[in-house]
Symmetry: none
Subunit: 259 residues, 2 copies
DNA sequence: ACAAGGTTAT
DNA sequence: ATAACCTTGT
Protein backbone atom coordinates (compact mmCIF):
# COMPACT_ATOMS: atom_id res chain seq x y z
CA UNK A 1 0.00 0.00 0.00
CA UNK A 2 0.89 3.64 -0.39
CA UNK A 3 0.73 6.16 2.38
CA UNK A 4 2.28 9.54 1.76
CA UNK A 5 1.79 12.59 3.95
CA UNK A 6 2.71 15.99 2.60
CA UNK A 7 2.88 18.74 5.22
CA UNK A 8 2.65 21.46 2.60
CA UNK A 9 -0.24 19.94 0.75
CA UNK A 10 -0.63 22.99 -1.44
CA UNK A 11 2.37 21.79 -3.44
CA UNK A 12 0.41 18.79 -4.59
CA UNK A 13 -2.48 20.98 -5.68
CA UNK A 14 -0.20 23.26 -7.64
CA UNK A 15 1.41 20.29 -9.35
CA UNK A 16 -1.91 18.95 -10.54
CA UNK A 17 -3.04 22.41 -11.61
CA UNK A 18 0.17 22.64 -13.61
CA UNK A 19 -0.60 19.56 -15.70
CA UNK A 20 -4.35 19.01 -15.69
CA UNK A 21 -4.98 21.18 -18.73
CA UNK A 22 -2.48 19.17 -20.71
CA UNK A 23 -3.31 15.66 -19.58
CA UNK A 24 -6.81 14.49 -18.73
CA UNK A 25 -5.85 11.12 -17.26
CA UNK A 26 -2.51 9.97 -15.96
CA UNK A 27 -0.81 7.12 -14.19
CA UNK A 28 0.95 7.88 -10.95
CA UNK A 29 3.76 5.38 -10.58
CA UNK A 30 4.54 4.97 -6.91
CA UNK A 31 7.57 3.17 -5.56
CA UNK A 32 10.01 3.62 -2.74
CA UNK A 33 11.79 6.49 -4.45
CA UNK A 34 8.65 8.57 -4.79
CA UNK A 35 5.68 9.29 -7.02
CA UNK A 36 6.09 9.90 -10.74
CA UNK A 37 3.75 10.69 -13.57
CA UNK A 38 4.65 10.70 -17.21
CA UNK A 39 2.15 11.33 -19.94
CA UNK A 40 1.75 12.70 -23.41
CA UNK A 41 -0.62 15.61 -23.58
CA UNK A 42 -4.06 15.02 -25.04
CA UNK A 43 -2.98 15.88 -28.58
CA UNK A 44 0.21 13.84 -28.28
CA UNK A 45 2.45 16.79 -28.93
CA UNK A 46 3.98 17.48 -25.55
CA UNK A 47 5.23 15.21 -22.82
CA UNK A 48 4.70 15.94 -19.13
CA UNK A 49 6.84 14.45 -16.41
CA UNK A 50 6.11 15.07 -12.76
CA UNK A 51 8.22 13.64 -9.98
CA UNK A 52 7.74 13.96 -6.23
CA UNK A 53 10.56 12.47 -4.17
CA UNK A 54 9.76 10.21 -1.25
CA UNK A 55 11.81 12.59 0.88
CA UNK A 56 9.32 15.34 0.10
CA UNK A 57 6.76 13.43 2.15
CA UNK A 58 6.74 12.76 5.86
CA UNK A 59 6.20 9.95 6.36
CA UNK A 60 6.35 8.13 3.04
CA UNK A 61 5.58 4.48 2.77
CA UNK A 62 5.20 2.42 -0.39
CA UNK A 63 5.61 -1.32 0.16
CA UNK A 64 5.04 -2.39 -3.39
CA UNK A 65 5.16 -0.60 -6.69
CA UNK A 66 1.75 0.79 -7.44
CA UNK A 67 0.28 2.41 -10.51
CA UNK A 68 -2.63 4.72 -9.79
CA UNK A 69 -4.59 5.80 -12.85
CA UNK A 70 -6.30 9.08 -12.06
CA UNK A 71 -8.55 11.48 -13.89
CA UNK A 72 -6.69 14.71 -13.31
CA UNK A 73 -9.75 16.91 -13.67
CA UNK A 74 -11.42 15.06 -10.84
CA UNK A 75 -8.21 15.05 -8.83
CA UNK A 76 -7.93 18.79 -9.27
CA UNK A 77 -11.52 19.31 -8.17
CA UNK A 78 -10.93 17.36 -5.02
CA UNK A 79 -7.72 19.25 -4.32
CA UNK A 80 -9.66 22.50 -4.62
CA UNK A 81 -11.47 21.40 -1.47
CA UNK A 82 -8.25 21.62 0.47
CA UNK A 83 -7.42 24.50 2.77
CA UNK A 84 -4.39 26.46 1.73
CA UNK A 85 -2.30 25.33 4.68
CA UNK A 86 -3.68 21.85 4.98
CA UNK A 87 -1.63 18.73 5.44
CA UNK A 88 -2.47 16.22 2.73
CA UNK A 89 -2.23 12.48 3.08
CA UNK A 90 -2.54 10.20 0.05
CA UNK A 91 -3.39 6.57 0.62
CA UNK A 92 -4.03 3.66 -1.69
CA UNK A 93 -4.42 -0.05 -1.12
CA UNK A 94 -2.45 -2.45 -3.28
CA UNK A 95 -5.51 -3.78 -5.03
CA UNK A 96 -8.02 -1.06 -4.40
CA UNK A 97 -9.95 0.84 -7.00
CA UNK A 98 -9.76 4.19 -5.25
CA UNK A 99 -7.18 6.54 -3.86
CA UNK A 100 -7.95 8.35 -0.65
CA UNK A 101 -7.03 11.93 0.11
CA UNK A 102 -7.13 13.39 3.59
CA UNK A 103 -6.88 17.11 4.27
CA UNK A 104 -6.27 18.29 7.80
CA UNK A 105 -6.22 21.88 8.91
CA UNK A 106 -3.12 22.74 10.88
CA UNK A 107 -5.11 23.04 14.11
CA UNK A 108 -6.84 19.73 13.51
CA UNK A 109 -10.29 21.30 13.81
CA UNK A 110 -11.27 20.22 10.33
CA UNK A 111 -10.64 16.91 8.67
CA UNK A 112 -11.74 16.24 5.10
CA UNK A 113 -11.69 12.85 3.46
CA UNK A 114 -12.07 12.24 -0.23
CA UNK A 115 -12.00 9.10 -2.30
CA UNK A 116 -11.18 9.32 -5.94
CA UNK A 117 -12.06 6.51 -8.32
CA UNK A 118 -9.14 5.04 -10.18
CA UNK A 119 -9.29 4.60 -13.93
CA UNK A 120 -7.46 2.27 -16.29
CA UNK A 121 -5.06 4.09 -18.53
CA UNK A 122 -2.89 2.41 -21.08
CA UNK A 123 0.10 4.63 -21.35
CA UNK A 124 3.17 4.06 -23.34
CA UNK A 125 6.04 4.89 -21.04
CA UNK A 126 8.38 6.69 -23.37
CA UNK A 127 12.03 6.71 -22.51
CA UNK A 128 13.48 10.17 -22.41
CA UNK A 129 17.04 10.11 -23.68
CA UNK A 130 19.61 12.06 -21.72
CA UNK A 131 20.56 14.97 -23.88
CA UNK A 132 23.51 17.30 -23.82
CA UNK A 133 21.73 20.48 -24.66
CA UNK A 134 23.25 23.21 -26.76
CA UNK A 135 21.79 25.89 -24.55
CA UNK A 136 20.40 25.96 -21.04
CA UNK A 137 18.62 29.08 -19.89
CA UNK A 138 17.46 29.71 -16.33
CA UNK A 139 15.20 32.66 -15.84
CA UNK A 140 12.46 33.86 -13.49
CA UNK A 141 9.43 31.70 -14.03
CA UNK A 142 7.08 34.67 -13.84
CA UNK A 143 9.07 36.47 -16.53
CA UNK A 144 8.83 33.48 -18.84
CA UNK A 145 5.10 33.30 -18.23
CA UNK A 146 4.69 36.97 -19.01
CA UNK A 147 6.71 36.68 -22.21
CA UNK A 148 4.62 33.77 -23.46
CA UNK A 149 1.42 35.60 -22.65
CA UNK A 150 2.55 38.82 -24.27
CA UNK A 151 3.80 37.23 -27.46
CA UNK A 152 0.73 35.07 -27.85
CA UNK A 153 -1.13 38.25 -28.69
CA UNK A 154 0.91 38.49 -31.86
CA UNK A 155 1.06 34.98 -33.17
CA UNK A 156 0.91 31.26 -32.60
CA UNK A 157 4.63 30.60 -32.51
CA UNK A 158 7.64 31.95 -30.74
CA UNK A 159 11.18 31.82 -32.00
CA UNK A 160 13.59 31.29 -29.14
CA UNK A 161 17.02 32.47 -30.03
CA UNK A 162 19.77 31.84 -27.53
CA UNK A 163 23.12 33.45 -27.98
CA UNK A 164 26.03 34.26 -25.76
CA UNK A 165 24.57 37.10 -23.81
CA UNK A 166 20.85 36.84 -24.17
CA UNK A 167 17.69 34.97 -25.05
CA UNK A 168 15.44 36.50 -27.62
CA UNK A 169 11.81 35.48 -27.84
CA UNK A 170 10.09 36.70 -30.97
CA UNK A 171 6.72 36.31 -32.56
CA UNK A 172 4.93 37.73 -35.53
CA UNK A 173 1.48 37.74 -36.95
CA UNK A 174 -1.21 39.72 -38.69
CA UNK A 175 -0.98 42.80 -36.57
CA UNK A 176 2.77 43.03 -36.30
CA UNK A 177 5.88 41.55 -34.87
CA UNK A 178 7.54 41.67 -31.52
CA UNK A 179 10.49 40.42 -29.61
CA UNK A 180 11.60 40.35 -26.03
CA UNK A 181 15.23 39.90 -25.20
CA UNK A 182 16.38 38.88 -21.75
CA UNK A 183 20.03 39.47 -21.09
CA UNK A 184 22.25 37.19 -19.15
CA UNK A 185 22.48 38.14 -15.50
CA UNK A 186 19.83 40.79 -15.82
CA UNK A 187 18.08 42.00 -12.69
CA UNK A 188 20.12 39.92 -10.28
CA UNK A 189 18.87 42.02 -7.39
CA UNK A 190 17.98 38.96 -5.41
CA UNK A 191 19.08 35.41 -5.82
CA UNK A 192 16.86 33.35 -8.05
CA UNK A 193 15.70 36.44 -9.86
CA UNK A 194 18.38 36.56 -12.51
CA UNK A 195 18.80 34.94 -15.87
CA UNK A 196 21.73 32.67 -16.57
CA UNK A 197 22.67 31.15 -19.90
CA UNK A 198 24.79 28.09 -20.38
CA UNK A 199 25.76 27.89 -23.99
CA UNK A 200 27.60 25.28 -26.02
CA UNK A 201 26.38 26.58 -29.34
CA UNK A 202 23.84 29.15 -30.33
CA UNK A 203 20.39 27.79 -31.10
CA UNK A 204 17.29 29.17 -32.74
CA UNK A 205 14.12 27.13 -32.53
CA UNK A 206 10.42 27.72 -33.01
CA UNK A 207 7.72 26.50 -30.62
CA UNK A 208 3.99 26.65 -30.17
CA UNK A 209 3.11 29.45 -27.77
CA UNK A 210 -0.06 27.72 -26.73
CA UNK A 211 1.93 24.88 -25.24
CA UNK A 212 4.46 27.13 -23.59
CA UNK A 213 1.65 29.07 -22.00
CA UNK A 214 0.27 25.82 -20.70
CA UNK A 215 3.64 24.83 -19.30
CA UNK A 216 3.89 28.11 -17.48
CA UNK A 217 0.92 27.10 -15.32
CA UNK A 218 3.69 25.61 -13.18
CA UNK A 219 4.95 29.08 -12.35
CA UNK A 220 3.37 28.83 -8.90
CA UNK A 221 5.73 25.97 -8.08
CA UNK A 222 9.09 27.58 -8.62
CA UNK A 223 10.82 30.92 -8.81
CA UNK A 224 12.96 29.88 -11.74
CA UNK A 225 12.29 27.97 -14.93
CA UNK A 226 14.98 26.23 -16.94
CA UNK A 227 14.75 25.98 -20.72
CA UNK A 228 17.05 23.43 -22.31
CA UNK A 229 17.39 23.54 -26.07
CA UNK A 230 19.17 21.70 -28.85
CA UNK A 231 18.55 21.75 -32.56
CA UNK A 232 15.94 19.22 -33.67
CA UNK A 233 15.39 17.96 -30.14
CA UNK A 234 12.39 18.64 -27.91
CA UNK A 235 12.67 21.66 -25.68
CA UNK A 236 12.79 20.81 -22.00
CA UNK A 237 10.99 23.24 -19.70
CA UNK A 238 11.72 22.42 -16.11
CA UNK A 239 10.36 23.74 -12.82
CA UNK A 240 12.16 22.54 -9.72
CA UNK A 241 9.89 22.19 -6.70
CA UNK A 242 12.31 22.95 -3.90
CA UNK A 243 13.80 19.71 -2.59
CA UNK A 244 10.58 17.92 -3.31
CA UNK A 245 10.79 17.15 -7.00
CA UNK A 246 10.13 18.71 -10.37
CA UNK A 247 7.74 19.18 -13.26
CA UNK A 248 9.26 18.79 -16.71
CA UNK A 249 7.62 19.49 -20.01
CA UNK A 250 8.97 18.45 -23.39
CA UNK A 251 7.90 20.03 -26.65
CA UNK A 252 9.19 19.32 -30.13
CA UNK A 253 10.25 22.36 -32.14
CA UNK A 254 8.27 23.40 -35.17
CA UNK A 255 10.23 22.65 -38.30
CA UNK A 256 10.63 24.53 -41.57
CA UNK A 257 7.96 27.07 -42.39
CA UNK A 258 4.93 25.29 -41.01
CA UNK A 259 4.28 28.64 -39.34
CA UNK B 1 -47.27 55.57 5.27
CA UNK B 2 -43.87 53.97 5.79
CA UNK B 3 -40.68 55.88 6.34
CA UNK B 4 -37.65 53.92 7.42
CA UNK B 5 -34.13 55.25 7.46
CA UNK B 6 -31.25 52.82 7.73
CA UNK B 7 -27.89 54.42 8.55
CA UNK B 8 -25.98 51.37 7.36
CA UNK B 9 -27.83 51.00 4.11
CA UNK B 10 -25.46 48.33 2.89
CA UNK B 11 -27.20 45.89 5.20
CA UNK B 12 -30.36 46.24 3.16
CA UNK B 13 -28.48 45.57 -0.06
CA UNK B 14 -26.84 42.47 1.38
CA UNK B 15 -30.21 41.20 2.56
CA UNK B 16 -31.70 41.50 -0.88
CA UNK B 17 -28.62 39.96 -2.47
CA UNK B 18 -29.01 37.08 -0.05
CA UNK B 19 -32.51 36.22 -1.24
CA UNK B 20 -32.95 37.54 -4.77
CA UNK B 21 -31.62 34.38 -6.41
CA UNK B 22 -34.17 32.32 -4.53
CA UNK B 23 -37.23 34.53 -4.77
CA UNK B 24 -38.05 36.73 -7.77
CA UNK B 25 -40.94 38.65 -6.19
CA UNK B 26 -41.80 39.09 -2.57
CA UNK B 27 -44.12 40.95 -0.24
CA UNK B 28 -42.55 43.17 2.37
CA UNK B 29 -44.96 43.29 5.30
CA UNK B 30 -44.40 46.49 7.20
CA UNK B 31 -45.85 47.24 10.61
CA UNK B 32 -44.73 48.94 13.76
CA UNK B 33 -42.48 46.08 14.75
CA UNK B 34 -40.49 46.21 11.55
CA UNK B 35 -40.30 44.89 8.00
CA UNK B 36 -40.69 41.23 7.21
CA UNK B 37 -40.63 39.16 4.07
CA UNK B 38 -41.59 35.55 3.82
CA UNK B 39 -41.66 33.67 0.57
CA UNK B 40 -41.26 30.26 -0.95
CA UNK B 41 -38.43 30.09 -3.43
CA UNK B 42 -39.32 29.96 -7.12
CA UNK B 43 -39.47 26.19 -7.23
CA UNK B 44 -41.42 26.01 -3.98
CA UNK B 45 -38.83 23.95 -2.23
CA UNK B 46 -37.28 26.37 0.21
CA UNK B 47 -38.76 29.06 2.38
CA UNK B 48 -37.07 32.38 2.97
CA UNK B 49 -37.82 34.60 5.93
CA UNK B 50 -36.23 38.00 6.31
CA UNK B 51 -36.93 40.27 9.25
CA UNK B 52 -35.61 43.76 9.91
CA UNK B 53 -36.59 45.12 13.31
CA UNK B 54 -37.99 48.64 13.60
CA UNK B 55 -35.17 49.33 16.04
CA UNK B 56 -32.69 48.67 13.28
CA UNK B 57 -33.90 51.84 11.58
CA UNK B 58 -33.57 55.41 12.75
CA UNK B 59 -36.08 56.79 12.55
CA UNK B 60 -38.75 54.20 11.79
CA UNK B 61 -42.31 55.12 11.18
CA UNK B 62 -45.14 52.93 9.98
CA UNK B 63 -48.62 54.25 10.74
CA UNK B 64 -50.60 51.48 9.17
CA UNK B 65 -49.75 47.96 8.18
CA UNK B 66 -48.52 47.95 4.62
CA UNK B 67 -47.72 45.20 2.19
CA UNK B 68 -45.24 46.16 -0.49
CA UNK B 69 -44.93 43.69 -3.35
CA UNK B 70 -41.54 44.07 -4.91
CA UNK B 71 -39.63 42.46 -7.75
CA UNK B 72 -36.42 41.58 -5.99
CA UNK B 73 -34.32 41.60 -9.14
CA UNK B 74 -35.30 45.20 -9.74
CA UNK B 75 -34.85 46.05 -6.10
CA UNK B 76 -31.36 44.59 -6.18
CA UNK B 77 -30.48 46.57 -9.29
CA UNK B 78 -31.56 49.79 -7.65
CA UNK B 79 -29.62 48.94 -4.51
CA UNK B 80 -26.53 48.43 -6.63
CA UNK B 81 -26.70 52.17 -7.30
CA UNK B 82 -26.06 52.85 -3.66
CA UNK B 83 -22.71 53.88 -2.29
CA UNK B 84 -21.20 51.41 0.10
CA UNK B 85 -21.55 53.70 3.11
CA UNK B 86 -24.76 55.38 2.10
CA UNK B 87 -27.71 55.98 4.36
CA UNK B 88 -30.84 54.48 2.84
CA UNK B 89 -34.36 55.73 3.38
CA UNK B 90 -37.35 53.68 2.28
CA UNK B 91 -40.67 55.43 1.87
CA UNK B 92 -44.09 54.29 0.72
CA UNK B 93 -47.50 55.91 0.72
CA UNK B 94 -50.43 53.97 2.06
CA UNK B 95 -52.11 53.67 -1.29
CA UNK B 96 -49.24 54.27 -3.64
CA UNK B 97 -48.06 51.99 -6.36
CA UNK B 98 -44.37 52.66 -5.83
CA UNK B 99 -41.79 52.54 -3.10
CA UNK B 100 -39.16 55.21 -2.96
CA UNK B 101 -35.52 54.68 -2.08
CA UNK B 102 -33.18 57.49 -1.14
CA UNK B 103 -29.42 57.04 -0.89
CA UNK B 104 -27.39 59.70 0.81
CA UNK B 105 -23.64 59.70 1.11
CA UNK B 106 -22.43 60.13 4.68
CA UNK B 107 -21.23 63.64 4.00
CA UNK B 108 -24.53 64.55 2.39
CA UNK B 109 -22.75 65.54 -0.79
CA UNK B 110 -24.71 63.14 -2.95
CA UNK B 111 -28.39 62.25 -2.84
CA UNK B 112 -29.91 59.62 -5.13
CA UNK B 113 -33.60 58.96 -5.44
CA UNK B 114 -35.19 55.90 -7.00
CA UNK B 115 -38.76 54.78 -7.34
CA UNK B 116 -39.56 51.13 -7.68
CA UNK B 117 -42.89 49.98 -9.06
CA UNK B 118 -44.87 47.75 -6.78
CA UNK B 119 -46.28 44.47 -8.04
CA UNK B 120 -49.21 42.38 -6.89
CA UNK B 121 -48.12 39.10 -5.41
CA UNK B 122 -50.47 36.54 -4.04
CA UNK B 123 -48.49 34.77 -1.42
CA UNK B 124 -49.63 32.13 0.95
CA UNK B 125 -48.25 33.10 4.32
CA UNK B 126 -47.20 29.79 5.74
CA UNK B 127 -47.03 29.41 9.45
CA UNK B 128 -43.70 28.15 10.68
CA UNK B 129 -44.18 25.92 13.70
CA UNK B 130 -41.81 26.38 16.59
CA UNK B 131 -39.61 23.34 16.66
CA UNK B 132 -37.40 21.88 19.33
CA UNK B 133 -34.54 20.82 17.17
CA UNK B 134 -32.52 17.69 17.79
CA UNK B 135 -29.30 19.43 16.91
CA UNK B 136 -28.24 23.03 16.67
CA UNK B 137 -24.89 23.80 15.13
CA UNK B 138 -23.29 27.24 15.10
CA UNK B 139 -20.27 27.60 12.91
CA UNK B 140 -18.42 30.27 10.97
CA UNK B 141 -20.58 31.31 8.06
CA UNK B 142 -17.61 31.39 5.71
CA UNK B 143 -16.67 27.85 6.62
CA UNK B 144 -20.19 26.64 5.91
CA UNK B 145 -20.08 28.41 2.57
CA UNK B 146 -16.74 26.83 1.72
CA UNK B 147 -17.97 23.36 2.63
CA UNK B 148 -21.07 23.69 0.45
CA UNK B 149 -19.02 24.93 -2.46
CA UNK B 150 -16.41 22.22 -2.09
CA UNK B 151 -18.84 19.36 -1.81
CA UNK B 152 -20.89 20.61 -4.74
CA UNK B 153 -18.08 19.59 -7.08
CA UNK B 154 -18.75 16.00 -6.10
CA UNK B 155 -22.49 15.70 -6.10
CA UNK B 156 -25.91 17.27 -5.77
CA UNK B 157 -26.62 16.33 -2.19
CA UNK B 158 -24.92 16.60 1.13
CA UNK B 159 -25.47 14.39 4.11
CA UNK B 160 -25.21 16.36 7.33
CA UNK B 161 -24.39 14.17 10.24
CA UNK B 162 -24.33 15.77 13.68
CA UNK B 163 -22.97 13.87 16.60
CA UNK B 164 -21.60 14.78 19.98
CA UNK B 165 -18.29 16.19 19.00
CA UNK B 166 -18.58 17.11 15.37
CA UNK B 167 -20.58 17.80 12.24
CA UNK B 168 -19.79 15.74 9.19
CA UNK B 169 -20.78 16.94 5.75
CA UNK B 170 -20.45 14.33 3.04
CA UNK B 171 -21.21 14.01 -0.64
CA UNK B 172 -20.56 11.55 -3.41
CA UNK B 173 -20.78 11.42 -7.15
CA UNK B 174 -19.22 10.19 -10.36
CA UNK B 175 -15.64 11.03 -9.64
CA UNK B 176 -15.56 10.02 -6.01
CA UNK B 177 -16.73 10.73 -2.51
CA UNK B 178 -15.78 13.24 0.11
CA UNK B 179 -16.51 14.35 3.61
CA UNK B 180 -15.58 17.29 5.76
CA UNK B 181 -15.77 17.02 9.51
CA UNK B 182 -15.78 20.08 11.72
CA UNK B 183 -15.07 19.42 15.34
CA UNK B 184 -16.86 21.10 18.19
CA UNK B 185 -15.02 24.10 19.58
CA UNK B 186 -12.39 23.93 16.90
CA UNK B 187 -10.34 27.02 16.18
CA UNK B 188 -11.88 29.14 18.92
CA UNK B 189 -9.02 31.57 18.62
CA UNK B 190 -11.40 34.47 18.44
CA UNK B 191 -14.97 34.73 19.50
CA UNK B 192 -17.46 33.99 16.77
CA UNK B 193 -14.96 31.83 14.96
CA UNK B 194 -15.66 28.56 16.68
CA UNK B 195 -18.13 25.79 16.13
CA UNK B 196 -20.57 24.86 18.84
CA UNK B 197 -22.95 21.96 18.81
CA UNK B 198 -26.07 21.68 20.87
CA UNK B 199 -27.29 18.15 20.70
CA UNK B 200 -30.39 16.44 21.99
CA UNK B 201 -30.03 13.46 19.73
CA UNK B 202 -27.76 12.66 16.82
CA UNK B 203 -29.24 13.42 13.41
CA UNK B 204 -28.31 12.52 9.88
CA UNK B 205 -30.16 14.25 7.08
CA UNK B 206 -29.65 14.84 3.37
CA UNK B 207 -30.10 18.17 1.62
CA UNK B 208 -29.72 19.73 -1.78
CA UNK B 209 -26.36 21.44 -2.05
CA UNK B 210 -27.67 23.87 -4.63
CA UNK B 211 -30.03 25.34 -2.08
CA UNK B 212 -27.49 25.44 0.68
CA UNK B 213 -25.10 27.26 -1.60
CA UNK B 214 -27.83 29.76 -2.32
CA UNK B 215 -28.50 30.23 1.38
CA UNK B 216 -24.86 30.91 1.98
CA UNK B 217 -25.13 34.09 -0.10
CA UNK B 218 -26.08 35.57 3.27
CA UNK B 219 -22.55 35.00 4.51
CA UNK B 220 -21.82 38.71 4.08
CA UNK B 221 -24.43 39.47 6.74
CA UNK B 222 -23.10 37.50 9.67
CA UNK B 223 -19.98 35.87 11.04
CA UNK B 224 -21.80 32.79 12.25
CA UNK B 225 -24.49 30.63 10.76
CA UNK B 226 -26.77 28.41 12.79
CA UNK B 227 -28.03 25.12 11.41
CA UNK B 228 -30.97 23.62 13.27
CA UNK B 229 -31.90 20.06 12.42
CA UNK B 230 -34.45 17.47 13.34
CA UNK B 231 -35.40 14.28 11.63
CA UNK B 232 -38.09 14.75 8.97
CA UNK B 233 -38.32 18.48 9.63
CA UNK B 234 -37.01 21.26 7.43
CA UNK B 235 -33.50 22.40 8.18
CA UNK B 236 -33.33 25.95 9.47
CA UNK B 237 -30.33 27.96 8.33
CA UNK B 238 -30.16 31.25 10.18
CA UNK B 239 -27.99 34.30 9.81
CA UNK B 240 -28.36 36.89 12.55
CA UNK B 241 -27.86 40.44 11.34
CA UNK B 242 -26.42 42.03 14.46
CA UNK B 243 -29.24 43.63 16.46
CA UNK B 244 -31.08 44.46 13.28
CA UNK B 245 -32.81 41.24 12.42
CA UNK B 246 -32.19 37.94 10.65
CA UNK B 247 -32.43 35.92 7.47
CA UNK B 248 -33.77 32.42 7.89
CA UNK B 249 -33.95 29.74 5.26
CA UNK B 250 -35.89 26.51 5.58
CA UNK B 251 -35.22 23.47 3.45
CA UNK B 252 -36.90 20.10 3.63
CA UNK B 253 -34.55 17.13 3.80
CA UNK B 254 -34.37 14.72 0.92
CA UNK B 255 -36.00 11.49 1.86
CA UNK B 256 -35.20 7.87 1.09
CA UNK B 257 -32.95 7.23 -1.86
CA UNK B 258 -34.06 9.96 -4.15
CA UNK B 259 -30.32 10.56 -4.47
C1' DA C 1 -7.42 35.77 0.00
C1' DC C 2 -11.88 34.50 -1.37
C1' DA C 3 -16.17 34.96 -3.66
C1' DA C 4 -19.50 37.44 -6.75
C1' DG C 5 -20.64 39.96 -10.68
C1' DG C 6 -19.96 41.63 -15.09
C1' DT C 7 -17.70 41.75 -19.33
C1' DT C 8 -15.67 39.68 -23.16
C1' DA C 9 -13.95 36.18 -26.04
C1' DT C 10 -14.78 31.71 -28.02
C1' DA D 1 -24.32 29.76 -24.81
C1' DT D 2 -20.36 29.01 -22.19
C1' DA D 3 -16.12 29.81 -20.26
C1' DA D 4 -12.33 32.66 -18.87
C1' DC D 5 -10.93 36.81 -17.17
C1' DC D 6 -11.00 40.87 -14.55
C1' DT D 7 -12.73 43.79 -11.14
C1' DT D 8 -14.85 44.78 -6.77
C1' DG D 9 -16.22 44.02 -2.33
C1' DT D 10 -15.72 41.07 2.06
Amino acid sequence: MLEARMPQGAILRKCIDAIKDLVTDGNFDCNDSGIALQAMDNSHVALVNLFLRASGFDPYRCDRNLTLGVNLGGFSKVLKCMGNDDVVTVKAEDDGDTVSLTFESKDGGRVSEFELKLVDIDSEHLGIPDTNYDAIVSMPASEFQRICRDLSVLGESVIIDVSKDGVKFSASGESGTGSITVKQGASVDKESEGTTINLNSAVQLTFSLKYLQNFSKATALADQVTLSLSADVPLLVEYTIGEVGYVRYYLAPKIGDEN
